[in-house]
Symmetry: C2
Amino acid sequence: MKKYNHTTYAILGILTTGCRSGYDIKQLIDRSLNHFWKISYGQIYPTLKTMVEDGLAEVQTSSQKGKPDRNEYFLTSKGVETLKSWLEEPIQQIPGERNEILLKLFFGRFQSKESTVSLLEEYKQQLENRYLTYVSIEQAISKSNEEDKDSFYWLITLDYGKRVTKAAIEWCISTLEQISDQEV
Amino acid sequence: MKKYNHTTYAILGILTTGCRSGYDIKQLIDRSLNHFWKISYGQIYPTLKTMVEDGLAEVQTSSQKGKPDRNEYFLTSKGVETLKSWLEEPIQQIPGERNEILLKLFFGRFQSKESTVSLLEEYKQQLENRYLTYVSIEQAISKSNEEDKDSFYWLITLDYGKRVTKAAIEWCISTLEQISDQEV
DNA sequence: TGAACCATGTAAGCAGTTACATGATTCA
DNA sequence: TGAATCATGTAACTGCTTACATGGTTCA
C-alpha cells in the first residue's frame, strides 16, 4: 500500500463526513479540527488532484446558479481502504512540539525580569482564551446532537486540548511565582 | 532590524553558552533543548554561513591534531543585539500543535475498538517514557550545578514538559476508561 | 574489525504558507 | 458601496529532513 502524507489522510477522513468540495474541507477543518489540525487551500487543491489521479476519489463538477462551479469529490473503495489501513497503523513518533516561549525562556539570562514576566503573562492570556474556546465548542456539541456517535470522538479530542492547555496555564502561574520570588 | 528565522535565533542563543562549532550546537540542542527544539546539520551549517555574511558572527578555523578542522563561531555585538531584541519581542502566536493521534481518533468510527485502544495504549507508553526522561534530566541538573543561574531557566522548561506530558497521560487513562465503558 | 565519535558540508525533495488571480452574489 | 461568502486554483518561497560524501581517531 502506497504511503501518503498526513494531508491526504486528513482529507480522506473528511470526505467520509459528507464534505464534498475543497472549500467544504477547509471550512470543516477550520471549525472542528482547528485545535489540532490546520490546512490551507495551497495544500487542499493539489492534494485532491493527486487523489483523483491515484484513484482514491472521483470528481463530479456541478454548476450552481449564482455560485461558482463546484467540484465534488467522492471516495472510491480504494480511498476507503487507504484510510482504514492508515487508521490501523501505529503512530511512529509522538510530536515533539516546537515551543518558542520555552526557547526564549531558555535564554532568560539575557532578558530583563520584566520582559520575561510579560512574555509569560501574555502566553498565559492566550492559553486562557484557547481554553475558553474549547469549553464553548464543547457546550455547543453537547447541546446539539447527543446521540451522535461522531460527537463522542469529537469531545475526546476537545478534552485533550482542555487538559493540556490547563496544565500549561498552571505552569505559567507557577513560573511567574518562582520568578517573583527570585532575589533581586 | 532585519528578521531572521527561529533557527537563527536558536543558534544565536546557543553561541552565548560557550558552544563554538556547528557540531557543538547540534550536541547541545540534542541533549538539552531536545524536548522543545530540534535541529539538523542541514539547517545549522547553512545558517552559520549566512550569519557570518550578515555580520552576526565571526569564524575562526582551528586545526586540531587527530581531529578534523573545527570552525569556531563567535557572536559579534550585532549578533548579541539581534538576539536581545528577539527576546524582547512578544510571541505572535502560540503553537497549534499538530497531533496525529487526535486526527486518527477523530475518525474513530472507522476503526475497531481494539485498534483505538491499542493506539491509545501505545501513545500512553511513549508519553510515560518521555516523562521519565524529563525526571532523570531534572535530577542530573539539580545535582550538578546548584548555584548556576542558567539551570534555573533550564529547570523551568523541563517543568513545562513534565506538566504537559502528565496531563496527556491522564487524558489517555480517562479516554481508555470511557472507551471500555461504551456499550458493545 | 567495526562501531562510535569528531567534524563539515551539499543536494534533492517534501511540506506548508502566503500572495496572487478571478469573479459572481448577498447583505448591511 | 464595500465587506463577506462562495469557489478554484497556481507560483514563489521558506523551512526542514534525509541522504549523500569524506575521512581520521579511539576504543571495545
